[in-house]
């Protein structure tokens, strides 16, 4: 199982190490550094690295490498999932997962890691259990602690730890009982030069924020559950009922959690809300080129497209740009060669356009590769797949909760080739 964990910042310093079995020397990270050097970009470091006596499995999150050392055959996904869980826990506890927050809270970090893994086996990874065991730091609490001398480690056994519903603690109490659900859909798509869709799919999630007293048993049903044929659920969802009745029946965890995620890939179901007309060309002679991009609405189901941004990784030989936009602002970073055009709301009457000339290093050959456009947008009040919640029922408790469902569609990895 997981032997040790090293946290390494992007400068290559090991700033934290934790060993769950015998100590593995830091020198094992040299193999990681070697691979890192070979990979160039930090994103390109291969996740599984073998060394003569160990395997290093790493993830790159928030500019930190989480490098775990294992010695025996362990499912790599197991380790990667666990590392992501560690990063999420830090994020959850400290608001952000960065070198400085980890260093600031090093004792809590150690306590957490100790609680999350025992002898390399995961012990408690559910956030609500961890929070009962180790209280997250807050300014108020640390002040109270210093005055009263009480500690931030719980002295009782977390109630969820053993029950068949480990995700919920007993004795939850709220004065305002509320349950909110956000259906968030992201469109991943590749659009080719001519504007036709190469591939498109929707990654959807339903995130919930449930603050209900006692042990409520909820049932969420959909208008069109047939859309959902590829789903993964939070452990609280009763799979049998989903199989037979296509409703989500569950006793929710307390607080925020991801109820389910789903995947819609049938091409005809994936609407593409915007279109892009673009023309980027470099002249054979002379060191210049032209760029002309226009965006417009396509299948928006009558909703407003907002937060529209276009990001392009331009060829390395590009020196500068001279562009004018009819709407929004644009910025070109001559070091990273990234051009960002922040448009904002899409107005169907007056389509946004970015136009102008590009200048290339003199003497350099005409760039071979064509930059791909990465497009970002948001549409409120719409689940692009057409998913709709029909009702939410609660059993097991007497009070009437506030309920609400919100829909939002976003661009995921939405790419337009040129």
């Amino acid at each position: 199982m997981i032997h040790s964990l090293f946290l390494i910042n992007s400068a290559g310093d090991i700033f934290l190490e934790k060993h769950w079995k015998s100590v593995v020397g830091r020198s094992v990270c040299d193999y990681f550094f070697e691979a890192q050097e070979k990979a160039g970009e930090p994103e390109n470091v291969p996740p599984v690295i073998s060394t003569p006596h160990h395997y290093l499995i790493n993830i790159f999150r928030d500019r930190i490498f989480f490098v775990s050392v294992i010695q025996t055959e362990v499912p790599p996904l197991f380790v990667i999932e666990f590392l992501h869980r560690v990063a999420e826990t830090f994020q959850d506890y400290f608001g952000e997962c960065s070198e400085s927050t980890i260093k600031d809270n090093v004792v809590i970090v150690y306590e957490l890691l100790e609680e999350m893994l025992d002898n390399g086996f995961p012990l408690a990874t559910e956030s609500n259990i961890l929070k009962e065991l180790i209280k997250p730091p807050t300014i108020l609490r640390s002040m109270v602690n210093t005055i009263t001398g009480s500690s931030n480690v719980g002295a009782t056994l977390p109630t969820g730890q053993l029950s068949t519903i480990p995700w919920r603690r007993a004795g939850v109490k709220y004065t305002n009982n509320e349950a909110y659900f956000d259906a968030i859909e992201e469109i991943d798509a590749i659009i080719d030069k001519s504007g036709s869709t190469v591939c498109a799919e929707i990654q959807g999630v339903i995130d919930a924020c449930v603050k209900l007293t006692g042990m409520p048993d909820l049932t969420l049903s959909f208008m069109n559950p047939r859309l959902l044929d590829d789903v993964s659920f939070h452990p609280c969802v009763r799979f049998k009922r989903w199989e037979s009745e296509r409703v989500l029946s569950f006793i929710p965890p307390d607080g925020s959690f991801r109820l389910m995620s789903y995947h819609v890939s049938a091409q005809n179901l994936v609407a593409i809300p915007i279109y892009v007309k673009q023309n980027i060309s470099f002249f054979e002679s002379g060191s210049s080129g032209r760029l002309d991009i226009t965006l417009g609405p396509k299948q928006t189901m009558g909703k407003q497209v907002e937060g529209l941004t276009v990001t392009m990784h331009m060829p390395k030989v590009l020196l500068s740009v001279n562009l004018t936009a009819t709407q929004g602002t644009h910025k070109f970073d001559p070091v990273t060669k990234v051009l960002v055009w922040d448009i904002g709301k899409l107005n169907p009457q007056k389509l946004p356009n970015l136009k102008g000339s590009l200048s290339v290093q003199s003497g350099a050959p005409k760039p071979e590769e064509n930059p791909t456009l990465n497009i970002d947008f948001k549409i409120q009040q719409l689940a692009i797949s057409g998913l709709k919640v029909s009702r939410l029922d609660m059993y097991g408790e007497k009070y009437k909760p506030f309920k609400g469902v919100k829909y939002i569609t976003k661009a995921g990895r939405f790419q337009v080739r040129t």
């Binding site: 990667i80 992501h84 002898n119 210093t146």
Partner: protein, 952 residues
């Protein structure tokens, strides 16, 4: 307020200050001090001097403080074992605490203190905790057994913890079950042959019940454990599949992949016409696709596994091509994997889409990716015939871009296309020739040269082109040199009149000026061939080539089958069997997919040893990679040699047809039959030397071994005669002699105890020091009656190999302590390594091949065994009795080559190539092993075995 303040005290008297604070009366101050200590510890400062002070803080009811002290203890106990004992009492007390959280914490921490002395005290509390009323404590205790086993395996077995752990599989709490499974799996990994996880339908049922209710991590342990089970029939198999399928919708991708593994394995047993089989196939696709929307690291592991699944069951994902399309900001390791899968999924139905994508990729920025994309276009052409034309034109477009590495890759793949579709696309040769100058990579140069040679008759200036390459012949890589040699010979055979000079030039370059044996050999063979019989030469060199296969890079079927059983593991990421890279710690048990049997329709699987044909069409053949010498060698006795062997002219026809004039004869000496690498005059000198010398020495040895014969080989295995280990003088009158044997799979130490003193000896006991292979007495030394003066008793002490391990020098050294009523005596002896050879040490041929190649050449050791008169058959049978298994044999030029495998008790494989020259009194052996230290011992063993009883 943050913890960073703990780092700021770097003044001189820091330790001193901390000490004072730790001993403060104020709780709060104490806690702050411990925090400071921990903070220093985390950044690698040595605060071990504070050990007693920190341990003093342990007796507290403040849980946080307790936890912090425990953290400290785990870190430093190892370096201060004596001090750590001080903490034991508190641990034992905490294990009785009314709060289960504290009980669990205590037992958990104790297991993490890796100090031998402490483990003894741990046993009792652990036993209690394993039976604790609180499941939280039980589940923690289960993991603790695994920890303890890691520190002292023997202790765990002696105390019966393994049985308790097995009982926990039936626990009422699913979390306890999951942890028990996890602990047992980990222990089982270091005990390959122990039957720790004995799965039967009842236990499977319990696991499946627990599966629904335990945490995500527990589900992974249980699923991985389930995957090791082989259902009795298809009905059981189906019912397990039905209960595992819901796991495919789990949010944790590791759970999903482990479930996929179980399903892929058990599906094998389902009849294909069953409705459920089709349903299951359909259910597998969506979760695999979903894995690809996760973080890139998860995607990578998923893709490596999908690569296997696509080869094993192409039908699952055949409609999902689009999800493998590459996004430009995917990390490079994801891009390359996606590309690989795209080609595997390419078919006539989707080829247009795939080609359009590949062409797009060929204009990307990343060089490695572009190269692979170009290569992929070529592979598509070869795989889908209808697309070949479009692929070729795409490649030509790419060549027009003149981007250097694109052109080179394109030429390499066009060569393959020419081979696959002869006489179809040769019109493009002209375009290719234009780019001759820009080629600077060996593979591309070699490919171009091959094209020029193969189509010499159509290229007007072929001789000029080849001549231009010849100028820098010595600077070229071997690959190019070999190709150039062959191409020019082809050219000569096609246009003999103009190119005689050229061919002579290349032959002399290859044979006279090159140090490379391969090149020289090939040069000589061509030279001989051309000079002997040009017609035959034409037939051989210009023979029609076998068609190349459709699919490349396919994983060999038996390996694929094994890897399918390892989906989700490291093996699946590396596409290698675990035996190839997990050394020692794990037994190399080759997992096999279950074979569907019974249920009437066995006509489907006529041969039980064959996997049930899953892929409807015949699986495409695998091209063995070139340079796979051993592979070729071993294949020779499997199938009749095809064109791969060099066509050797049987007898020399000296000067019969001196096409190329003088020089040649003298060069060719007379050794064509001998080893080609050997020069002329060496001949058979070594063979003549030994026999006369060998005889006397040998008979002497025989006599020696005749003495031992009485003890010798009842079960056929080889036993060294007893030797005196401890003379009576050194042991107050006790003489110990003995030897080691392996009888019926059991290791034994056979000892004779002789009392040469005046008084009676009683109370014998024996103990081993840690040793290289973990040998330990499996039971007490049983001397039943007191040993009276001048009496000798013979004892067979069975040994186990699960004792503590420490590397000894020499490796087979064993330090023994024997105690009797008089004193304790120490001696050391050396055991023959052959007692460690286990009975299941026969390796699969393919695995042998793969392993042989995998072990770096640095690990190879060569030995000569002189003066042993054996032929290969007696050697085989004699070695077999020692569990040295012969896997393949072949005969080359009067030499018998035996390929043998040995497995040690700790799972290390040793591979041996033994060369026996019939009629000469010696053998050569090459030993390859990941642990090269054992080679010398193996040699000694061979020497012993082969030389003994050579008269018998």
């Amino acid at each position: 307020m943050t913890d960073s303040k703990y780092f700021t005290t770097t003044k001189k008297g820091e330790i001193f200050e901390l000490k004072a604070e730790l001993n403060s009366d104020k709780k709060e101050k104490k806690k702050e001090a411990v925090k400071k200590v921990i903070a220093s510890m985390t950044v690698g400062k040595d605060v071990s001097a504070l050990f007693p002070d920190v341990v003093n803080c342990m007796q507290t009811d403040n849980l946080e403080l307790k936890k912090l002290v425990y953290l400290y203890l785990m870190n430093y106990a190892k370096s201060q074992p004596d001090m750590a004992i001080m903490a034991v009492n508190t641990f034992v007390k905490d294990c009785e605490d009314p709060n289960p959280l504290i009980r669990a914490l205590a037992v958990r921490t104790m297991g993490c203190i890796r100090v031998d002395k402490i483990t003894e005290y741990l046993c009792e509390p652990l036993r209690k905790c394993l039976k604790d009323e609180d499941p939280y404590v039980r589940k923690t205790a289960a993991v603790c057994v695994a920890k303890l086993h890691d520190i002292n395996a023997q202790l765990v077995e002696d105390q019966g913890f393994l049985d308790t752990l097995k009982d926990l599989i039936s626990d009422s709490n699913p979390m306890v079950v999951a942890n028990a499974v996890a602990a047992l799996s980990e222990i089982a990994e270091s005990h390959p042959n122990s039957n720790l996880l004995d799965l039967n339908p009842q236990s499977i049922n319990k696991l499946l019940t627990a599966l629904n209710e335990c945490t995500e991590w527990g589900q992974i342990f249980i699923l991985d454990c389930l995957a090791n089970y082989t259902p009795r029939d298809d009905r059981e198999s189906q019912s397990i599949c039905e209960r595992v399928t819901p796991r495919l919708s789990h949010a944790n991708s590791a759970v999903v992949l482990s479930a996929v593994k179980v399903l892929m394995k058990f599906m094998e047993m389902l009849p294909k016409d069953l409705d459920y089989y089709g349903t299951l196939l359909k259910k597998l696709a969506p979760p695999l696709v979903t894995l690809l929307s996760a973080e890139p690291e998860l995607q990578y592991v998923a893709l490596r596994n999908i690569n296997l699944i696509v080869q094993k069951r192409p039908e699952i994902l055949k409609h999902e091509m689009k999800v493998f399309f590459v996004k430009y900001n995917d990390p490079i390791y994801v891009k390359l994997e996606k590309l690989d899968i795209m080609i595997r999924l390419a078919s006539q139905a989707n080829i247009a889409q795939v080609l359009a994508e590949l062409k797009e990729y060929a204009t990307e920025v990343d060089v490695d990716f572009v190269r692979k994309a170009v290569r992929a276009i070529g592979r598509c052409a070869i795989k889908v015939e209808q697309s070949a034309e479009r692929c070729v034109s795409t490649l030509l477009d790419l060549i027009q871009t003149k981007v250097n590495y694109v052109v080179q890759e394109a030429i390499v793949v066009i060569k393959d296309i020419f081979r696959k579709y002869p006489n179809k696309y040769e019109s493009v040769i002209a375009t290719l020739c234009e780019n001759l100058d820009s080629l600077d990579e060996p593979e591309a140069r070699a490919a171009m040269i091959w094209i020029v040679g193969e189509y010499a008759e159509r290229i007007d200036n072929a001789d000029e082109l080849l001549e231009s390459f010849l100028e820098g012949f010595h600077d070229e890589s071997t690959q190019v040199q070999l190709q150039l040699l062959t191409a020019i010979v082809k050219l000569f055979l096609k246009k003999p009149t103009e190119t005689q000079e050229l061919v002579q030039q290349v032959l002399s370059l290859a044979t006279q000026d090159s140090d490379n044996p391969d090149l020289r050999d090939r040069g000589y063979i061509y030279w001989r061939l051309l000079s002997t019989d040009p017609v035959a030469a034409k037939e051989v060199v210009l023979a029609e080539k076998p068609l190349i296969s459709e699919e490349t890079d396919l994983i060999e079927p038996t390996l694929l089958e094994e890897l399918t059983c390892h989906i989700g593991t490291l093996a699946s990421v590396y596409h290698k069997p675990p035996s190839a890279f997990v050394e020692g710690s794990r037994g190399v048990q080759h997992k096999r997919l279950p074979v569907r049997a019974g249920s009437g329709e066995s006509s489907e699987s006529p041969d039980a040893s064959q996997p049930v044909g899953v892929v409807a069409d015949t699986p495409p053949a695998v091209i063995p990679s070139q340079g796979d010498l051993l592979g070729d060698l071993l294949n020779l006795d499997l199938a009749p040699p095809t064109s791969s062997g060099p066509p050797v002219v049987p007898s020399m026809q000296m000067g019969a047809m001196d096409l190329l004039g003088g020089g040649l004869d003298s060069l060719l000496g007379g050794d064509i039959g001998g080893s080609p690498a050997m020069g002329g005059g060496l001949a058979s000198a070594p063979a003549a030397v030994a026999p006369s010398l060998g005889a006397p020495a040998n008979s002497g040895l025989d006599m020696l071994f005749d003495l031992g014969g009485s003890v010798g080989m009842p079960s056929g295995s080889f036993v060294v005669p007893k030797a005196v280990w401890l003379p009576a003088m050194k042991a107050k009158g006790l003489e110990i002699s003995g030897t080691f044997a392996r009888r019926g799979g059991v290791l034994q130490m056979e000892i004779s105890l002789t009392n040469k003193a005046m008084s009676v000896m009683t109370d014998f006991a024996i103990q081993f020091n840690r040793n290289s292979f973990g040998l330990a007495p499996a039971g007490p030394l049983q001397v039943l009656t007191p040993l009276s003066p001048n009496q000798t008793t013979e004892i067979s002490l069975p040994l186990s190999t699960v004792g503590p391990v420490m590397k000894m020098e020499p490796l087979n050294n064993l330090q023994v302590a024997v105690k009797n009523n008089i004193d304790v005596f120490y001696f050391s002896c050396q055991y023959p390594i052959s007692i460690l050879f286990v009975e299941d040490g026969k390796m699969e041929r393919q695995v042998f091949l793969a392993t042989w190649k995998d072990i770096p050449n640095d690990n190879e050791a060569q030995f000569q065994i002189k003066d042993c008169h054996v032929n290969s058959d007696t050697a085989t049978s004699r070695l077999q009795t020692c569990n040295i298994f012969t896997i393949a044999k072949r005969t080359v030029e009067g030499q018998d080559m035996l390929y043998q495998s040995i497995k040690l008790t700790n799972g290390i494989w040793i591979l041996v190539e033994l060369r026996v020259q019939t009629g000469s009194p010696g053998c050569m052996m090459s030993v390859k092993c990941r642990a090269p230290e054992v080679a010398q011992l193996v040699f000694q063993c061979y020497e012993m075995v082969l030389k003994t009883s050579s008269d018998a």
